[in-house]
């Protein structure tokens, strides 16, 4: 026996290593590289992307932009198609806006509260009313109504478009194959990237803002609709089919009702996306609250920006909770239409009473000025933290150190790497974590950046993203673990996270500059602030959802709480942690353009420049590069499970 086992075990060992999938992938990649790299190096050496491989798109883009501006009022395409689209948007927004103004502040608050009451209960109804009144108190009633009007139209359009796309993808496998990668990709793209093409066609203004919002907010609706249709209980569908339904009957009586949960979740997500876009779209003339935030920025007035930002946060939180509660309440026994009627009558009465009493415009005397105290607080903070703090040094020193010790070496290192080796690293990472398809997508995305001729700024941006992600993950995991272990801490944290997640990024740009100066450090700080809530949430949730039985068994073996965390919770929460990494990367990238506003430079600045100067060639190329970076980063960090789950 011994003589037989010895040789087999020897034989088994090398294949054991060789057949390990990671090794196999790396070996294959190495083989490929061994052939291609010498070729590439002899042909196009050097560290940066070879200019022979770039395509200059700025001229055709510039020409296209000129052509559009010159023909916008004469070409049939604009007169008969885009013109009508634009018209419909303007008329719809106007109709909603006039309706809101006609109902008056008392009416709007009452209707909002009553709807919330019927859909989600008394507590949320009170919250809704309070939120609307707070908008008025802050002196933001009219801008809030403008934003609300825009949102109503944009959300309705997004829901319709998204639902139709989702229906197509949910019912036809071919459409699904075509749409899914597109939708998946659109979801990782920063909102800013959508602005440029829309502005190109529609010019600055509300139509462009609404359409950009629709493009941004429709994908989640489409994805969730398709998911809901596909995820429906197979047996129910079979039962329905066994009763001899036509395809139409199946769709209307079974498939769509069965997907209600996902549909409502889609509406919820769409609303949140649209709200976050409402502010960003102020850059292209959306007006409303976003514009107030943007204007306050110009006079470096954090307080005023906050006063306009708070209504957005309130709207977001209220809409999120109400639609969320509506989703949870699904399936409970039917609410009688009579109470709805009742609620409607009451709302109409309040609106009418408000109208008669002249409560249409928010009374001037009822406004509370929060700008001043906020500004004082910000001033105090920046005055005392900026520099010269004993022992730890000021924030300016931190920013300086961070820039010269982390950002600079990282950027220079990335730019020093030969271009082919960057591609190789991307390929290896993506392949290890996913399939060869992911690797191919990632490499192609990276190569596209080179071809567009923005290799160096892209690597600069990449270095900022990597640094920000690292900081986000360290802080986020630590906070998330703390939140998972202490209920009280989590309760305290929750509203803070809510606010940071919905607060328009513009609002905290100034404090960030005041603390960290101008440059890449504040851009990184802004990105961290933005991405942190999601990472904390996912981490805490992942840790809390760890199978209690596993924890119990660990505890019964006498594990300390530290051991439980290290040996049970963290390993079991691995999928959640990976998701947190992915989300962190995507969110950080979303702020990179915003970072352009505080001296982040690189791609972010180029997009901002393109928007500001109407130089769409620069903006679009940089936007496309950010899209490619996003694709690449998403593929490199996206665990395979996520895609597998989507397929289910």
């Amino acid at each position: 026996m011994a003589t037989i086992t010895a040789p087999t075990s020897q034989k088994a060992a090398p294949p054991g290593i060789l057949t390990h999938p990671a090794t196999r992938k790396l070996l294959a990649l190495a083989a490929l590289a061994a052939v291609l790299v010498p070729l590439a190096v002899t042909q196009w050496g050097g560290a940066t992307w070879p200019s022979a491989l770039t395509v200059d798109v700025s001229e055709p883009l510039g020409k296209a932009s000129d052509w559009i501006i010159d023909n916008r009022d004469s070409h049939p395409l604009f007169l008969y198609f885009f013109g009508h689209v634009s018209n419909v948007v303007v008329i719809a927004v106007r109709a909603v806006y006039l309706a809101l103004l006609a109902v008056g502040w008392a009416g709007v608050s009452a209707i909002g509260a009553l709807v919330a009451w019927r859909v989600a209960g008394v507590r949320l109804a009170l919250g809704t009313a309070a939120a609307f009144l707070a908008c008025g108190l802050l002196g933001m009633w009219v801008p809030t109504m403008q934003t609300l009007a825009l949102m109503v139209v944009a959300v309705l359009a997004s829901v319709v478009v998204g639902a139709l796309l989702g229906l197509a993808a949910g019912l036809s496998d071919r459409m699904d194959r075509v749409l899914r990668p597109v939708l998946d990709t659109m979801q990782v793209l920063p909102a800013f990237a959508y602005l440029l093409p829309v502005v190109l066609v529609f010019g600055i203004g509300v139509p462009a803002a609404v359409l950009a919002t629709v493009v941004y907010a429709a994908p989640p609706m489409a994805r969730l609709t398709s998911l809901g249709l596909r995820g429906a209980d197979k047996e129910v569908l079979e039962a329905v089919e066994s009763l001899g339904t036509t395809a139409r009957q199946r769709l209307l009586t079974a498939r769509i009702p069965l997907a209600r949960k996902e549909l409502l979740l889609g509406v919820n997500q769409t609303i949140m996306m649209a709200l976050s876009m409402a502010v960003i779209a102020s850059v292209i003339g959306a007006g409303g609250l976003g514009d107030r935030v943007y204007q306050a920025l110009a006079s470096v007035d954090v307080g005023a920006a906050l006063a306009a930002g708070i209504p957005i946060v309130l709207l977001a939180v209220v809409l999120d909770r109400v639609t969320g509660a509506a989703g949870e309440r699904l399936g409970e026994s039917g609410r009688s239409p009579v109470t709805w009627l009742y609620a409607l009558v009451v709302a109409a009465a309040v609106a009418l009473a408000g109208r008669l009493a002249g409560f249409l415009d928010w009374p001037d005397g009822w406004e509370v000025d929060i700008a001043e105290p906020v500004n004082r607080a910000v001033d105090w903070m920046t005055a005392h933290l900026y520099s010269g703090v004993p022992v730890v040094g000021g924030t300016a020193d931190w920013a300086g150190h961070f820039t010269s010790w982390v950002l600079n070496p990282l950027r220079d290192g990335l730019q020093w790497l030969p271009w082919w080796s960057v591609l190789l690293i991307v390929a290896a990472l993506a392949w290890l974590i996913g399939t060869w398809r992911t690797a191919l997508t990632a490499v192609l995305a990276m190569a596209a950046i080179g071809v567009l001729g923005v290799w160096d700024p892209s690597l600069d941006t990449l270095s900022q993203v990597l640094a920000a992600v690292a900081v986000t993950l360290v802080v986020g995991f630590a906070t998330g673990i703390a939140a998972a272990r202490s209920d009280r801490f989590e309760r305290l944290l929750r509203p803070v996270l809510d606010v940071f997640q919905t607060m328009p990024q513009f609002v905290y740009l100034i404090p960030v500059v005041a603390l960290f100066g101008v440059g890449r450090a504040p851009a990184v700080a802004a990105a961290v602030v933005y991405a942190l809530p999601a990472v904390v949430r996912i981490t805490a949730q992942g840790l809390r959802q760890v199978d209690p039985a596993a924890l119990e068994s660990a505890r019964s073996l006498g594990a300390t709480s530290g051991q439980q965390l290290r040996q049970v919770q963290l390993p079991l929460a691995r999928p959640a942690l990976l998701l947190a990494v992915n989300q962190g990367v995507v969110l950080v990238l979303a702020v990179v353009i915003i970072g352009g506003l505080v001296g982040g430079g690189a791609l972010g600045y180029q997009v901002v420049f393109g928007l500001a100067q109407g130089d769409l060639a620069t903006g679009l190329v940089a936007g496309a590069a950010i899209v490619c970076l996003g694709l690449m980063l998403d593929r490199v960090t996206q665990p395979t499970e996520r895609r597998a789950k989507k397929g289910a």
Binding site: F78, G203, G205, V206, V518, V598
Partner: protein, 316 residues
């Protein structure tokens, strides 16, 4: 008002019939003319001077002429497009965009010139006065390289930092640094807000800095700055953006109106054409907004209350 009414009515008609052309360059903002009030939409650029113009114009339009005023913040170049489309009725402060002027005013005739604002703008490189006093020779560009070390920051790496602002501003700084052979790195703050915040922080610490800046600007009152002399401006020396090696010109700031608004805008258009004040006036209002953090309408009210003689002329 009637113009927009008609536009909207026509749009409804067109939609109802389901065909016909829709010219989106003739569409008003959906927020205009709500509740029967005549509305004027003004473009506000991202700097405070522009806000001051708009605040005073808005106050007078609302309180003296009975209009409702909407403001939209748009960057300079896109604002021309918006103005041409009628989504904005007027730009009150333009720093010179020959290309746009050619396209919209001369060729398409969708924008009409609205006359001088009365304020003269100038762009240049500035150092804080406390720094200039200590090192008087820094105000000549030839000596700038001497101070590159002092002006270094983490962001500019081994070189001195030249702080630039919003991407929407006219700037030749990258070319200037290169063509004048300066040991400096242009760092783009990305927005005026960021740039101002940074300069204020530097000033608080009495640290030296070199920045692209312009007058009239309220920050000058707060952080006194001295201009660095660049090679003098000559007509045409900035023709080729890559070869610029001279200072920025002095620009009389201009107003522009949407062509239709200029024709049918009635009293409002007339008023905006006559709107003209001085650099000091503008700075007064700007300071109230930016430094005292007054609301624009309060600042405007304060100024209007004390300068009746100036604005009475605009209304006549």
């Amino acid at each position: 008002m009637s113009r927009k009414r008609i536009t909207v009515a026509a749009a409804v008609l067109v939609l109802a019939t389901g065909c016909g052309a829709a010219d989106m360059t003739k569409q008003a903002s959906p927020f205009a003319n709500a509740q029967g009030a005549k509305t004027v939409t003004l473009s506000v650029q991202s700097w405070v001077g522009a806000q001051a113009n708009v605040a005073v114009a808005q106050y007078l339009l609302e309180h003296e002429l009975g209009y409702r005023v909407d403001t939209v913040q748009v960057d300079e170049v896109p604002a021309w497009d918006a103005l041409s489309q009628g989504r904005v009725d007027a730009i009150l402060e333009d720093w010179g965009h020959p290309e746009q002027e050619q396209r919209y005013v001369q060729d398409k005739k969708t924008i009409a010139a609205g006359g001088d604002l009365g304020v003269t703008g100038h762009i240049g490189w500035f150092v804080p006065t406390y720094f200039a006093k200590k090192h008087p020779d820094v105000t000549n560009w030839k000596n700038l390289n001497k101070y590159a070390d002092l002006l270094r920051t983490a962001e500019s790496g081994g070189k001195g930092q030249l702080l630039d602002g919003s991407p929407s501003y006219v700037t030749n700084d990258k070319a200037l640094v290169k063509n004048l052979d300066l040991d400096y790195q242009v760092v783009f703050a990305g927005s005026e807000a960021a740039q101002i915040t940074q300069m204020q922080q530097f000033a608080k610490e009495k640290k030296p800095f070199l920045s692209y800046w312009y007058t009239p600007q309220w920050l000058m009152e707060k952080v006194p700055m001295t201009e660095v002399k660049l090679p003098p401006y000559e007509e045409g020396c900035d023709a080729d953006p890559a070869k610029v090696d001279c200072a920025y010109p002095v620009t009389p700031l201009q107003k522009y109106l949407n062509a239709d608004f200029a024709k049918d805008g009635g009293k409002a258009a007339e008023f905006l054409r006559k709107f003209k004040w001085t650099t000091e006036d503008q700075n007064q209002v700007s300071l109230m907004i930016a430094e005292q953090k007054m609301r624009p309408e309060e600042a405007a009210k304060k100024w209007v209350d004390s300068h009746e003689s100036v604005w009475k002329a605009w209304l006549s």
